[in-house]
Amino acid sequence: MKTMFSIAGVALLATMLLGCAKDPLRSLDDDEARLYITSHDSTANFASYNTFSVSDSVRVIEDNQLAEIAFTSFDQQLVASFVNEMEQRGYSRVGRNADPDLVVNISRIYNNQTGIIDYSLYYNDYLGYYDPYYWGAGYDYYFPFPVYGVYTVTEGGISIDMFDAMNAATNGNQLKLVWNGLIRGRGTFSSSGVSTSMDALFAQSPYLDSN
């Protein structure tokens, strides 16, 4: 009986000490917790683009459904930060009716399920979230490379999609995706993280500097 008490004491102590593991994520600040993912069309000649236009609203997509079209103060900050990065690299912002070389859509994406999402699914002809005719009659979206995201429960992200409008006519009226930037992780939707996140996306996309 006494030995059993002693063994119980050792087991109790061992159980307590098992709680000594370092929480690997607790020490990460918001920026360290985030991922910045970029993809681009390796055949695109970014030096040939001079102007760009950004959609005047942000699509809010929840569980693969369009939840709303918004332009909150956070969205405005997001767009402003993106515009600033582009202009620093020599691009000029123009209105969508001014025949821009590049057209840009920005989305806030929330998902409450686990799965792999193909972002190009948001761009169907007439039933999708972005009307290609917004950029010009007869246009269609085209994705020469995959843009996938893996989502877990209640995960969200920001997606920035840049399309080649300059060569749409020669591409069969297709707005070809030439660059995608994804921001995922803690603090993605925090105003304090916008400029840090945007800086990171552009820092790892030196080909955008070729303008």
């Binding site: 006494k2 030995t3 008490f5 002693s6 063994i7 119980a8 004491g9 050792v10 109790l12 102590l13 061992a14 307590m16 000490l17 098992l18 000594c20 593991a21 370092k22 690997p24 994520l25 020490s27 990460l28 360290e32 917790a33 985030r34 991922l35 910045y36 993912i37 970029t38 993809s39 390796s42 490379f145 995959p146 877990t152 995922r184 992780g185 803690r186 990171a200 790892q204 996309s205």
Partner: protein, 210 residues
């Protein structure tokens, strides 16, 4: 329900373990050796997590089969951790992912153990030990706050050890242990082919209730 503090748990554990026995050490005694470890990764474990860890301990229960030989069981725990500065990684499909990678390894060996003392008395009692058994291991890599890869396995572990026992007190049945050990833990996950590591440890030996 009132939350029980760690100090309370420690006190309860100490009373359960030690009791009030204070007899001289001999064959037939059962003793508990609690050790704090400082563990140093080697080999492919060091390539994954290069930093030493102080989140490491082991506890063994040894029965004196003779005045020099003790046999029993041991359980241990080591938690290796390293966070790497943000870097841009290129994936197979050509995407660029900027992330802070965090690598963690947890091992929990459960061993049958034997310890041989080179003397039956004296101010210091050198010993060698060997333990062999199973190892419950978990290896995880995080990219930011996301799990990039994780694996857990039950494998083999063998831990040879050499040290010295320094009895203290009137009867010498409690004392301090100083030892060095090397854990041999085969593993297979990605570029990791073992979880071998060295450890330095300091601990106490206390008798169990009889």
């Amino acid at each position: 329900m009132k939350r029980v503090s760690y100090n309370t748990i420690l006190a309860i554990a100490a009373v359960l373990i030690v009791g009030f026995d204070a007899e001289a050490q001999r064959a037939g005694d059962t003793r508990v050796n609690l050790n704090y470890n400082l563990a140093f990764p080697t080999g492919s474990l060091q390539d994954f997590t290069s930093k030493a860890t102080g989140r490491a301990w082991n506890v063994n229960l040894l029965y004196g089969a003779s005045d020099r030989l003790a046999i029993g069981v041991e359980v241990g725990y080591r938690n290796f951790y390293e966070s790497l500065p943000r870097e841009v990684y290129v994936t197979e499909d050509g995407s660029q992912v900027s992330a802070v990678l965090t690598n963690t390894v947890e091992v929990l060996p459960l061993l049958a153990k034997a310890r041989y003392f080179f003397s039956e008395g004296g101010k210091t009692r050198p010993f060698v030990s060997v333990g062999a058994g199973v190892n419950f291991a978990t290896v995880t890599q995080y990219a930011g706050e996301f799990t990039n890869a994780t694996d857990n396995k039950i494998g083999f572990a063998a831990i040879p050890e050499a040290g010295v026992y320094i009895p203290v007190g009137k009867n010498g049945n409690v004392g301090i242990t100083l030892a060095a050990s090397y854990a041999i833990m085969p593993y297979d996950f990605g570029t990791i082919d073992n979880l071998n590591h060295a450890a330095a440890q300091i601990g106490v030996i206390v008798p169990l209730r009889r």
